[in-house]
Symmetry: C3
Subunit: 156 residues, 3 copies
């Protein structure tokens, strides 16, 4: 195991969680590579190889659109997120890509200050190194909690 790479990936996941939880969506987007994809897929689909995602952003432009509409157009339940991550594992793939996984729990807190479990699942993340830094090439959030309790407005 490469301890430095592990720390680096853990730090990237922490920045990812912080950016979403602080609603700094541009900072969240900046963690992705120019060529990137973002999927949210129920665990059942992932296990059976049935690729019907809840969210499918196949390009960075699609991801940018999502953030812009979130900030300017969408009407949704106002809340704050809190992402907890655990069990980060890393392995090096072919030609400089890095494959990482982490389990996550997301809590949402409404404007009354009430917190609730939103969902649990696992990230499957493909990373690439560019100019010495890791960027997300592909992020898949595999969701145990397929019965999403509210709208999926903010990124998982």
């Amino acid at each position: 195991m490469n301890a430095t790479l592990h720390s680096e990936v853990q730090a990237l996941y922490a920045r990812y969680a912080r950016a979403v939880d602080d609603a700094r969506f541009e900072d969240w987007l900046a963690l992705f590579d120019t060529d990137c994809a973002y999927y949210v897929i129920p665990r059942e689909n992932a296990q059976r190889g049935l690729e019907l995602p809840i969210v499918r952003c196949r390009t960075r432009d699609m991801l940018t659109d999502r953030i812009v509409s979130l900030q300017q157009a969408n009407i949704y339940n106002i809340h704050t997120d809190r992402h907890m991550l655990s069990n980060v594992t890393v392995c090096e793939g072919e030609s400089g890509t890095v494959l990482a996984e982490a389990d996550f729990v997301v809590y949402q807190t409404d404007v009354e200050g009430q917190s609730r479990l939103f969902g649990v699942g696992r990230y499957r993340t493909r990373l690439v190194r560019r100019d010495g830094r890791l960027f997300i090439r592909e992020q898949t959030a595999i969701l145990d909690t397929a019965a999403v309790p509210t709208l999926m407005a903010t990124p998982i």
Copy 2:
């Protein structure tokens, strides 16, 4: 503190969590030493030194039996688990054993895709090194959540 040992234990806990959550119970079993034990005990009992566990597998055969019956015979609420771990601490004991602790939260998701808190507690883990790798000699899951909300089918 030995950073390498800490990383090694953290990686073992991650494999443990992943194996259970993916229902790869043979892989979970393979993390245990040939001579091993597995206990689930309420926190109240652990604190008072009253050793009445909820689950007591004193040998590897007992643990294997549990897995086989889980896979072939048991009737229980079908669900998937999600283990989150935190606060991993490690110290080296006598004659090559390693003592580790970690706090855990387990979420269960039913076939409708609804996730719920199953329980929280702490692992107390005794590890031994064999052929350069760490194996679990004794795993005790000390459960705060003594009022177990459903059957305890899958391992904690």
Copy 3:
């Protein structure tokens, strides 16, 4: 990133969580510097720079008082805590201080053995090094869950 410092801070957070969860409040207090402060503040207040905390202990004596009253005088719902931490980040500040952050979730378990989500939030921690060891100079628990479900008796 300084990997050693990161491990050191992570170990300190683990001791912090363990001490509270085991109700070893003197051990918890021993993690603080002689000159220290402890605040619990709703996220909404923290974001707007309105410093109306739920708990404000500006000196170590105030913190000690709180622990003594908790152990000897307070009447509150008896429970045990379980702290989960994630996304620990560290940066070095001016003149030897260390600034750390971590996300937390606290679960409480009542005497019936029922566990519930108590609250989620983020620690903002200022540390100082004295005699080679890190001590907490200022701990702020920024609470998403402003609608605290019960009394806030034990420390967050």
